[in-house]
């Protein structure tokens, strides 16, 4: 039970690599906070610094108000769950979970009680005498959790704890991790590269890129008000659509056609002293089949007509893909594409993903008209990635 403060924490590895740069995070007591970002962005390094497994190059780490930069991991009273689980292969499940208690020199009766209690919570009671090598992935993961919770630490640190599980189990375990954390109310820092995990688990999410924090906020806030292109593109699945746009004669000329500048957009651009060339971002669910939108709502948006490339029917809705002639370009978008592996696909032209109602009669090969909500459109500066439409 405690709060953790990272104050301008920086990590430079001995080989000169700057892994984490001036990170400021204030984690409240009992909070479940997620560090998310593409691989190599410094999430594990940040977590290891909190744990004490890596030295802090500069800046301050405070737990409960005390600076702990120079404390050994064992003196920080923090438990950690590793991606590899890191179970001791020579010890049984019981002994694995008792390990931290033994080191803390608790008496046998207390150890037994705490281990049984943790085993009960995690449904491991019948596996207590088995070796980790004889357990399934999900069971090993639970043992690793068990080893963390037995000693009531000040905080849990978890480094991609679910990444080694198959997709279905991962979803199940996600729920149980969430429930466990609520139940115990222990401050938790959780690292993942999976934005779905980040969105579903955390009270707050910290998005990192190249060792720098991009934005900190509640999942919904990040989703609706991303600070920049990177966050906008990283959070959400399918990802936000980005199309290049140019301001001309009070209109935005884009690959979606000429769009009128609403008051909100005009004010935002004036306020932000926006360049003439911008990137327009709009999420797939802010589109709708134009034939299903009534007149009144229609006036609040605009329509786009294009050749339907692919239709994916998900049952509850339809994902409709359009091919666009142009593609938005920026360093951040390229990095996102590289991270998701889609940079290998040679796509000089862009793609528009829309999510329409299941009742939409759209068919592949049609020229179909979709409506989009101008109130949800966001504009970004291609040079800096900054979100121009963010309310101050």
């Amino acid at each position: 039970m405690s709060d953790i403060v990272l104050d301008r924490v920086t990590k430079r590895y001995p080989d000169g690599a700057l892994a984490v740069q001036e990170v400021n995070i204030e984690i409240a007591d009992g909070e479940f906070i997620i560090l998310v970002g593409p691989s190599g962005c410094g999430k594990s390094t940040t977590l290891n610094m909190i744990a004490g497994l890596e030295d802090i190059t500069s800046g301050e780490l405070r737990i409960d108000g005390t600076v702990v930069n120079d404390r050994a991991p064992k003196d920080r009273d923090i438990a950690m769950v590793f991606q590899s689980y890191a179970l001791y292969p020579h010890l049984s499940v019981r002994e694995n979970m008792a390990f931290p208690l033994r080191l803390a020199k608790l008496d046998t009766a207390t150890i037994d009680r705490k281990v049984s209690e943790a085993a009960r919570i995690l449904d491991l009671t019948q596996h207590l005498d088995r070796r980790p090598s004889n357990l399934s992935g999900g069971q090993r993961q639970r043992v690793a959790m068990g080893r963390a919770i037995v000693r009531n630490p000040k905080a849990f640190l978890m480094d991609e704890p679910l990444s080694n599980l198959d997709a279905k189990l991962r979803v199940q375990m996600r729920t149980s991790v969430s429930r466990l954390q609520k139940q115990l109310g222990t401050t938790t820092v959780y690292v993942t590269h999976d934005q779905t995990e980040a969105m579903t688990l955390g009270d707050r999410v910290v998005v990192m890129r190249g060792g720098v924090v991009q934005q900190i906020g509640a999942p919904q806030h990040l989703y609706e008000h991303p600070a920049n292109l990177f966050v906008a593109g990283f959070i959400g699945s399918p990802a936000m659509n980005f199309v290049p746009a140019a301001v001309a004669d009070g209109r935005l000329s884009t690959a979606l056609g000429d769009i009128r500048l609403t008051d909100r957009l005009r004010r935002a651009m004036e306020r932000a002293d926006a360049p003439r060339e911008v990137i327009l971002g709009i999420r797939p669910e802010h589109f709708e089949d134009a034939s299903l939108v009534d007149e009144r709502v229609r006036a609040e948006g605009d329509v786009f007509t294009g050749l339907v490339d692919v239709v994916e029917s998900m049952g509850s809705d339809k994902y409709v893909y359009y091919a666009l002639d142009e593609k938005a370009r920026s360093a951040e978008l390229e990095e996102l594409a590289a991270d998701s592996g889609s940079s290998d696909v040679p796509a000089s032209e862009g793609q528009l993903v829309t999510r329409l109602s299941a009742v939409s009669p759209v068919r592949e090969g049609d020229h179909h008209e979709v409506w989009f909500d101008l109130g949800k459109v966001q504009l970004f500066d291609p040079a800096t990635g900054r979100n121009l439409t963010l309310e101050p």
């Binding site: 590793f82 991606q83 890191a86 179970l87 001791y88 292969p89 020579h90 390990f99 080191l103 980790p132």
Partner: protein, 340 residues
């Protein structure tokens, strides 16, 4: 070859209720060959035609190597055993005669043998113990070194690369009174190699100096088996450096430690060249190998010498047996549990 074919046929699924005698032959053969514990009849019967022919091919491919092994190792052993049962002194070749176990009685009641045996055991235990500690330290250093890794490893291995006899001579000169720098430094005016205790200490030192790198190398392979995450987890669980070493590192790398100990113990028990060069076994510093050599080559007593050789062979076999059966030492790589 044809004999093995035969036992293969006996095991065919066509004859389920064989006579017990036949079944025994098969199962002994089966577990020996396949290397499977308890590969008895029931396991065998489930083999498909394809598996059986594959196994036959495996045997055919192994056969030449096995035959060569038997020829080069089996024959000398059998010949030694045969010699050890003879009275056979090359100085009196006419007196050669089969004497049964008389040579064994002779050797096992001789104080020379037991003195040498004690000396050998002492050197073995002390040198292997020191090597284990130093080797572990060296292995940890080599494992941890980040800068100049190659240089550190190479320089650590230099002693092991030097021919033992050459190294032994340099030790001998170093400890020779007046001319040797170590003798002048530590024991001016005396001759350390002519006193039993100090001579044994020097022999042990030479042995340790020479083979610690080998120990370190084997242990370093074991250290590589300990995942970094495991040590990090132990740190988080509250273990200090010493506890991490004792409670996590050592148990996880136990198979590697046992293999290293086994190799070194077997080697140390057969110590010969260092003693031969340093003291030639004078002042009760001879090992069993030196004693066997003295009897065989210098005294030309083939009977007694062979008896000692056979006894050394039995001792070595016993050491290996103890390691494998009691400590569960496994060959490197065959261990699966420690890895996961």
């Amino acid at each position: 070859m044809s004999k093995e074919r035969l036992s293969e046929d006996q095991a065919s699924p066509g004859s389920p209720a064989d006579a017990p005698g036949q079944a025994e032959v098969t199962s002994a053969n089966g577990s020996g060959r396949g290397g499977r514990a308890g590969g008895g009849r029931s396991g065998r019967r489930t083999l498909t035609e394809g598996q059986r022919s594959e196994r036959r091919l495996a045997l055919l491919l192994c056969a030449p190597a096995a035959l060569v092994m038997i020829a080069v190792t089996g024959w000398p052993i059998i010949y030694s055993i045969w010699l050890s049962l003879q009275r056979y002194d090359l100085r009196f070749p006419a007196d050669q005669e089969f004497v049964g176990l008389a040579n064994y009685v002779e050797v096992l009641t001789s104080s020379y043998w037991w003195t040498s045996f004690g000396v050998t055991l002492l050197i073995t235990v002390v040198s292997v113990a020191i090597e284990l500690v130093l080797g572990m330290a060296l292995a940890l250093i080599m494992h941890r070194t980040i800068v100049g890794r190659g240089l550190v490893r190479t320089s650590a291995l230099v002693p092991y690369g030097i021919v033992t006899v050459v190294a032994a001579f340099s030790w001998r000169y170093a400890w020779t009174p007046d001319t040797g720098y170590l003798a002048n430094l530590f024991a001016p005016g005396s001759a350390p190699l002519t006193d039993q205790a100090s001579a044994l200490a020097i022999i042990t030192l030479a042995e340790v100096w020479k083979t610690t790198p080998f120990m370190a190398l084997l242990l370093m392979a074991g250290l590589a088996l300990v995942p970094d995450d495991l040590l990090k987890a132990a740190s988080m669980d509250g273990a200090g450096p010493w506890q991490r070493f004792i409670k996590v590192m050592v148990p996880v790398m136990k198979p590697a430690i046992l293999v290293a100990l086994l190799f070194r113990t077997l080697d140390a028990f057969r110590i010969f060249d260092n003693i031969y060069v340093l003291t030639s076994g004078a002042q009760d510093t001879s090992s069993v190998s030196i004693l066997a050599n003295t009897n065989l080559i210098q005294a030309l007593n083939l009977g007694i010498g062979s008896t000692m050789s056979v006894l050394i062979f039995l001792s070595v076999a016993l050491i290996a047996f103890v390691f494998v059966k009691l400590f569960g030492t496994a060959a490197p790589g065959s261990d699966t549990e420690g890895r996961r």
